[in-house]
Symmetry: C2
Subunit: 355 residues, 2 copies
């Protein structure tokens, strides 16, 4: 039976990316050596790193003055690395989910943190819109997509201070006005690769201004100056990410990824709104294109497990909602084909017909 993989991340990747990874593990570019054993100092891997960096910049239309680096440690490592590098005195944060809360917690170790707004009291069911960003903050931090609540900031916000965004879960799903950001970062494991590699995009003129002594590995300038090869990088993860970026390019780039993300999310949300058995959990205008969260309607509440079992029997994987929200979550990352979304919608319709 075909599996439809709605995992919230690590997530399904394009078949080509997976197939090319296997090929490189068997024999990396005809070297007779596995990508698992290739030297990160070899000219062949240097080419992989250069190509990955260049393609990342090309696809997101990243202008001059910005550096792109690839690191280990996950986005969680960036929660403290960002303030370590950039927080002189005060930073502003928008609290939209568990992830922003974690980022806020880490920033407090390095200076004053102003939480400009939070939707926590309402279970993070919307993105706060009315707030004032202090003009004397060193930066303003947002989480563009909130995987647990299922909300997303779909525009590039205006900010009087450098805008910093955790884009772990929606990077490459729409074109960005990169020049509106001071820095954005994220784990690759939702949209562009396997778990184990993290990207950071930085406007270089923001660095080196805190007067703080930084550990070498935390200092973004270390990795910029060495082209992400200061120390041994997560070689195979970067290789798979490159294959995913190549696939994105072959499909029409980030502009095409946005069209597909709109189509996929429209398909599932229309069914959630139409189907009497299910209810969306967040404010419609803030619905995430990446993570559709929904629960059983009140009168069908007892059928939650039954639907999960039914969907599972039809090949749906990973649609159980996060424990803090309950219900269901369909993650619609870039690698997920629309056919899988259709299969889930069919499940929902069939389940409705059964009751």
């Amino acid at each position: 039976m075909k599996k439809h993989i709605f995992n919230p991340g690590p997530a399904i990747l394009p078949q080509e990316a997976v197939a090319n990874t296997i090929e490189a593990i068997q024999d990396f570019q005809g070297t007779g050596i596995s990508i698992l054993s290739i030297s990160h100092r070899s000219k062949e891997f240097q080419s992989v790193m250069d190509e990955t960096t260049a393609l990342f910049k090309e696809l997101l239309h990243i202008p001059e003055g910005y550096a792109v680096i690839f690191l280990g440690g996950g986005a969680s490592t960036q929660f403290f690395s960002v303030p370590y590098n950039l927080l002189k005195q005060k930073a502003a944060y928008l609290d939209t989910d568990t992830w922003s809360s974690q980022a806020i917690k880490e920033a407090k170790l390095f200076g004053e943190v102003v939480v400009v707004a939070s939707s926590k009291e309402d279970g993070y069911k919307y993105i706060p819109k009315d707030y004032i960003i202090p003009a004397d903050a060193d930066y303003f931090h947002i989480t563009t997509n909130n995987t647990i609540a299922g909300t997303e900031i779909l525009t590039d916000l205006d900010s009087p201070v450098p805008l910093i965004a955790d884009m772990s879960s929606d990077i490459f799903s729409r074109p960005l006005k990169v020049e509106k950001y001071g820095l954005f970062y994220g784990g690759a494991q939702k949209n562009i690769g396997p778990a184990g590699v993290t990207f950071v995009v930085i406007r270089e003129d923001l660095l080196g201004k805190t007067g703080r002594d930084l550990p070498t590995m935390v200092d973004y300038r270390t990795h910029i100056s060495k082209g992400s090869l200061f120390n041994t990088p997560p070689v195979v993860c970067i290789y798979t990410m490159l294959q995913t970026l190549k696939w994105i390019k072959s499909q029409g780039g980030v502009e095409e990824m946005e069209k597909r993300s709109i189509a996929k999310s429209k398909l599932i949300y229309e069914e959630i709104d139409r189907n009497k058995m299910f209810v969306g959990t967040v404010k419609k205008e803030d619905r995430s294109r990446m993570n559709a969260c929904f629960v059983m309607a009140e009168e069908y509440k007892d059928l939650e497990k039954e639907f999960l079992d039914f969907a599972s029997s039809k090949g749906m994987v990973g649609i159980k909602g996060h424990r803090s929200v309950g219900g269901f979550r369909a993650s619609l990352y870039i690698g997920l084909p629309i056919e899988s979304v259709q299969a889930l919608v069919d499940c929902m319709r069939e389940f409705e017909a059964m009751h």
Copy 2:
């Protein structure tokens, strides 16, 4: 032509580990999902993490009171994480190579650092033996194997304060008296896995004593309490590491790895000492079993490139010495079969016969 892979890391891995990784990328344990897309919260991956941790402990005979965690970011991240977690006032370091120097640099951000001895003036050609470890230091840090110089500390040192070791490049190559260490760490990419995962073994009672506020991801207690699943770990790298550990067990464990390491290093060093064209670069008693460094003898100096080309034509990969030492370096990590060492020795003999 068969390649003999002497890469200094990332390094050659056992064939079984590579084959099992490919299988899991195609279909992870019959789930119909690639290991690249499996949720790190799935029960299947939880088993992988539990088994990896348990097998790591079993093979190294790690006693009660020690935790084993797996992180991203490489050993270089541990250069600052160790003092961040453990340095209250003063730490002692032994300077044996580039890697210890880097660790020393990071520690200085967190307190006083006493370098008890250094062989830097002599090009790191030996391991200093006569030094005094301050009894009031918070810990004493060593680098057990020095990949660039080619020296190794082959005994478990006595120390009046907790002994901390970077074991990136010789872990699992000999049994350890674990109870003599407070902490040891390393990147997996030499002996036990691909690049992208780092192990840390910690005597738990040493933690939480600096009074310093730690970033969540830097605090070892975060990862201990969550069994290395606080955030998304480098899933596929951990899987390949588990396959390598299983292979080590199937071959007879770390005790057998030591026998092989002794045999492989004896084979190459005997040839270096016998062959009139080559000379070892380090003090014999401190020779590394992991990285045999040698150069052309003075009268054959002009033939360095010719030997490299000759060896390359015979399938030898990665034997060019580090630029700071020159000449040649044959890395003899766990995954390298003795047949490859014999092939290199044959090359050296043939080259000698030609001149």
